[in-house]
Symmetry: C2
Subunit: 336 residues, 2 copies
DNA sequence: GTGAAAGCGCTAACAC
DNA sequence: GTGTTAGCGCTTTCAC
């Protein structure tokens, strides 16, 4: 269109300024929403800019403002559909709100601490940790650096950080009540040896409600909390012939493993012989073979509140840490 | 430890230099692997740095080097487990190789073009697009900006960009042969109205191999290629009572929808009545209810080759575009 | 091996 | 509303 142009990768605001016959500040203003600039200059700048193929260098801007719009997401267990949905929703929400998500997945020696350290070097505007159990030191590190930190699914009130959790207390209660309402009088709960906070909270609430109902929930310990451990648990569980058995499995992936094996390999009729309720409402819970009754947590809601929290803290860094609870609800399908 | 320290967020290389009694360059060198610096100065600097809680500002460094180590990942359809596995593996690989992944998910009006534009403003070291069908203009834009671009799962040889694909030709062939070997003599393939490149390639190869075997594969058109459309297709497919029917469904999620509905809702015995083969080998394909025979693509392999491609191009920006093919293999389970 | 000086591309006062 | 000046924190010649 316009003869030979300079290598576009090196077009700077000064180049645009020259071509437009204005100053660099004018160019800067033209690319800063809400800056005071006349319509006329703005037009001139825009024209020159697009002619040269100019794009603002956000790294330079970031250096200046001492803050990029980068937000780090630290995640673990992306093979759990709930987690990947969560990350997907969060990434979308962040972008819509003007942030730029970075994704760091826990992997071997790349633990929360190392990953966070990298993020801090990038002058991120915030960090969201959805993996479980971030060490305390890293929270302090963020506080020192004045970097907003949001922990999702980690209950304890750590100082300096904002928290967001599903309403695990309600979820556990709902599960117990659903099983009870279905006439189940013998409760079993599948708990991993080393449960993450939210899982413990659900179990605790389940047990509590159970005992309020005059029942004592029996605990069944699993190595992990994934499909495989649920499936493997089926062998033992299928052998038991308790009447009116109601099982709470505080993670859908795990519940699906159990359910799948119970039905396909052990000929157990669910809910005729056994009732089962999961947690999360992952897409697979609705699959025909499963039709799993579960407790739903909305990933969009999680994302929305997380980003809100981030924005509030950026506005007001010294505000007291907040702790938000996301509502949950029972999704009644066919396993209770 | 050391009395009052300055706000750690503002510790600069100059502060460290002063405390260590060296110049800023020395500090810079101490934090640049491979820079020529004596052991003694290095130690002094490290000590001063950790005392002050110094961390290099990667934004400033990026401005200087005119290149961050940020790599943009543009993705769509994270609800497909294959995609989320792919992103997970890629993110991990990138980090291990010293890059910093950013995750942009296609979402409404946030299309490839807009997202890429943002990425370019961040002076990213590279971009990986796993969503399907990035417009041609954006490839040119990357080329102009000298930003390496890797397209995964997009076959056409666009100029300037590196390509990486699964071996769809082999995969389609494998599927046809597996069905044939199982005695199936009537082939059906489930194709979405608007297939993405890789899916078309698989179908093409399947059809070709079928006709070599003396069979003509019948096409069954779906609106989409997810679990729901597979499940919905079951109604019509269950009605047909062709003998020896073998179905190829070029995406596991879709195959699982069909399989699940066929077995659970229509009482079809697979593979007794119908044989079915999927594609991708997502974790759910191995679930008990499914036990789906499928064609596996390794996400780790994808990730490895993608990052290799990126690194090569960074080293040699003007090299000819490459096109890599990832091997696939048949995973025989119980549906064929 | 080390330091001084000169930028990387941008925004933020400050005058006008 | 606009231009001028002075940095943001780092790396990088270039002398020494």
């Amino acid at each position: 269109m316009s003869g030979t142009r300079p290598t576009p990768s090196s077009v700077t605001s000064l180049d645009v300024a020259k071509l437009a016959g204005v100053s660099r500040s004018a160019v800067s203003r033209a690319f800063t929403p809400g800056a005071s600039i006349s319509d006329k200059t703005n037009k001139k700048v825009q024209k020159a800019a697009s002619e040269l193929g100019y794009r603002v260098n956000l790294v330079a801007r970031g250096l200046n403002k001492r803050r990029t719009d980068l937000v780090g997401m630290i995640a673990a267990g992306m093979n759990n559909p709930f987690r990947s949905e969560q990350i997907d929703a969060l990434a979308k929400r962040l972008v819509r709100e003007g942030f730029r998500p970075m994704l760091f997945c826990i992997d071997g020696d790349m633990d929360e601490e190392r990953l966070l350290s990298i993020l801090l070097n990038y002058q991120v505007s915030g960090v969201v940790i959805t993996s479980d159990a971030p060490p305390k030191e890293i929270c302090e590190e963020c506080a020192r650096m004045q970097v907003p930190l949001v922990l999702v699914g980690r209950g304890d009130a750590l100082p300096y950080v904002d928290l967001i959790n599903g309403d695990d207390a309600k979820g556990g209660r709902l599960a117990a009540e659903a099983l009870f309402a279905a006439g189940r009088r013998r409760f079993l709960v599948l708990a991993p040896v080393k449960p993450v906070h939210s899982v413990s909270a659900r179990i605790l609430a389940f047990n509590k409600r159970a005992s309020e109902l005059g029942l004592e929930a029996e605990q069944f310990t699993l190595n992990s909390h994934d499909y495989e451990s649920g499936r493997d648990a089926a062998v033992k569980i299928a052998k038991r012939r308790d009447d009116k058995l109601g099982i709470f499995c505080p993670t859908d992936v795990c519940a699906l493993g159990l359910l799948d094996a119970l039905r396909s390999q052990h000929g157990i009729r669910v809910p005729h012989d056994i009732s089962l309720i999961g947690y999360d409402d992952i897409p697979q819970a609705e699959w025909v073979f499963a039709n799993l009754t579960t407790v739903k947590q909305s990933v969009e809601e999680f994302a929305r509140v997380t980003v809100d929290l981030l924005q509030e803290r950026i506005k007001n860094p010294s505000a007291d840490p907040k702790s938000e609870i996301i509502d949950v609800k029972l999704i009644s399908r066919g396993t209770v």
